[in-house]
């Protein structure tokens, strides 16, 4: 076990843990945003640079600070390391720059995009970005593409995080899509228009942090915040069958994997569950999915009080911790 201090909060973590995972163990504001790293997929991370942190002291043995900001998703902690994440203005400035670069070619078509409301790039831009762009040149554009008959690819929105490629590599035996070309013209595409018909290919929709890969069965059906997410399950031979249903009244508009506090799928689900089971009678509905109360989806979303308190969700814990304590009322004696 090694001791590491992130934003003044000390935590003991196993050796070989990355700074990002150590921060996620603390939870709350400390956690650097991550667009490409996905803990459930191997060899992700290192592409997007949004998780930059400042290392103020390398280790107890060598307390010199690291010369540059480091990517927290692929830097392992050392004993006595001191990390600044949300408290460093330098980090905030760097993240702002990264957001600006990520948004250079992004079409900003949030009013049209199905991901709006649950988009990580939207959150990131809102938190760290500028309200306006300094880029005056034409943005790169691509034709819309169908990846298989159930997935739509909007390449213009892609930030090239490679998560979907890793899904193809690690969840399905035969990857038929990947990143073509290089640099500015790099794009996700299928090899010679090969359809993806693997049972787990739908998970690339869930891992996509932006609206580049979207569910064609949900395309333009509703905005995310008008649907009510519900935890549900069914007996499935191929996957765990534990999903989140996005319902409008009695209608199931969309099925996704359940997400944890870091917006990562808890269990990957199969395409049968995702695309073919669109009746409420196919599912056993458990309870409303936990939604962070700062999210637009939480409008008109009700959960039980105990669920909010007992849940292992960091946002509420942090809110309770950070809330200023009211002075005790003065009583006359």
């Amino acid at each position: 076990m090694v001791k590491v201090t992130i934003d003044g909060i000390e935590i003991e973590v196993p050796e070989g843990t990355t700074i990002l995972n150590a921060a996620r163990m603390i939870g709350g504001k400390v956690v650097p945003p991550a667009m490409c790293y996905y803990s459930k997929l191997k060899t992700t991370g290192g592409y997007c640079r949004t998780c930059l942190v400042k290392v103020a002291a390398g280790s107890a043995k060598d307390p010199r600070p690291m010369p540059k900001l480091v990517v927290s998703c692929s830097t392992t902690v050392q004993d006595g390391m001191v990390v600044l994440s949300s408290t460093s203005p330098e980090v905030a400035e760097a993240r702002k720059g990264v957001v600006e670069f990520l948004l250079i070619n992004h079409p900003l078509d949030c009013p049209i995009c199905d991901q709006a409301g649950e988009c990580k790039l939207q959150d990131l831009g809102y938190e760290h970005g500028l309200a306006k762009t300094r880029y005056e040149f034409p943005r790169r554009t691509f034709e819309k593409e169908d990846i298989g008959d159930k997935i739509k690819l909007h390449m213009t929105r892609c930030i090239l995080c490679y998560r979907c490629v890793k899904v193809g590599e690690q969840l399905t035996p035969k990857r038929v899509h990947g990143v073509m070309n290089r640099g500015d013209v790099a794009e996700i595409s299928t090899f010679v228009q090969n359809n993806i018909d693997n049972e787990f290919s739908g998970n690339m929709i869930d891992v996509c942090p932006v609206g580049a890969l979207t569910d064609k069965t949900f395309r333009f059906k509703s905005r995310v915040w008008y649907t009510k997410p519900m935890d549900a399950h069914r007996d499935c031979k191929k996957c765990s069958g534990k999903v989140a249903l996005w319902m409008k009244g009695e209608e199931v508009l969309r099925v996704t994997a359940r997400k944890d506090a870091n917006n990562e799928a808890i269990d990957f689900i199969c395409n049968e569950c995702r695309f073919d089971k669109k009746n409420a009678s196919d599912w056993v509905i458990e309870k409303p999915t936990h939604i962070d109360r700062h999210s637009v989806i939480s409008a008109n979303h009700y959960e039980k009080e105990e669920q909010l308190k007992l849940g292992k969700f960091t946002d509420h814990k942090m809110i309770e911790k950070e809330a200023p304590k009211l002075p005790a009322p003065k009583t006359k004696k």
Binding site: L108, P111, I112, K132, T133, R139, T141, F220, Y226, A299
Partner: protein
């Protein structure tokens, strides 16, 4: 009981005199007041022919604007509906098909867009929330009706008529006009390339 206003009078059962019993002075007094009003300035107007001046920011019936090429600006993003405190707005989105580029500005459009005018409180928050400059409140007054269903305004009433567009330029603030022409907000302009 203590009176609530200063105008209350204590009624008396005093017997009327002979002159008072004739009622003539009282009738004449009343006639004088009525006649005086014939020579005063009228407070009413004959409404449909004459109209009162309206404030430029009066919030009346909504309009869904078209862009300079006549295509509907609304993309059914739902921000007006989420901003609406009275929950008066509902919509259904649809995907634009090839060949409909002249009708709809973006790849998604509202196939159904309804405002329940009985629910609407004319607060103007939909106008403020709209990222596409599509919805505006105008100085038109909602007509009265006999049926509740006649107050659910669909696209047939709301969308700007092509032949005589409704002028909403007075409602655009200096800031919005600057925003529209600002080079740093170029993403706000129509990018014809990305629409293929």
């Amino acid at each position: 009981m203590q009176s609530l206003t200063t105008r209350s009078k204590v009624a008396s059962n005093k017997k009327m005199t002979f002159v008072e019993k004739l009622y003539l002075p009282a009738i004449l007094g009343g006639m004088r007041i009525t006649l005086n009003h014939f020579f005063k300035k009228k407070v009413t107007i004959s409404y449909p022919e004459q109209t009162r001046p309206m404030a430029p920011v009066y919030r009346g019936q909504h309009v869904l604007k078209r862009d300079e090429n006549g295509a509907e600006r609304c993309t059914a993003c739902g921000l007006c509906a989420v901003a609406c405190p009275a929950e008066a707005i509902t919509m259904t989105a649809a995907e634009r098909k090839p060949g409909e580029e002249a009708l709809y500005r973006e790849e998604k459009y509202a196939s159904v867009y309804e405002i329940n005018m009985l629910r609407c409180i004319f607060c103007g928050l939909c106008e403020e929330a709209c990222p596409k400059e599509a919805i505006f409140l105008t100085d038109r007054i909602i007509d009265s009706g006999y049926l509740r269903k006649s107050f659910i305004f669909g696209k047939d009433i709301l969308v700007d008529p092509l032949d005589k567009p409704i002028d909403v330029s007075v409602r655009e603030t200096k800031e919005t006009r600057e925003f529209k022409t600002h080079p740093e907000f170029a993403h706000n302009k129509l990018n014809t390339k990305s629409l293929k």
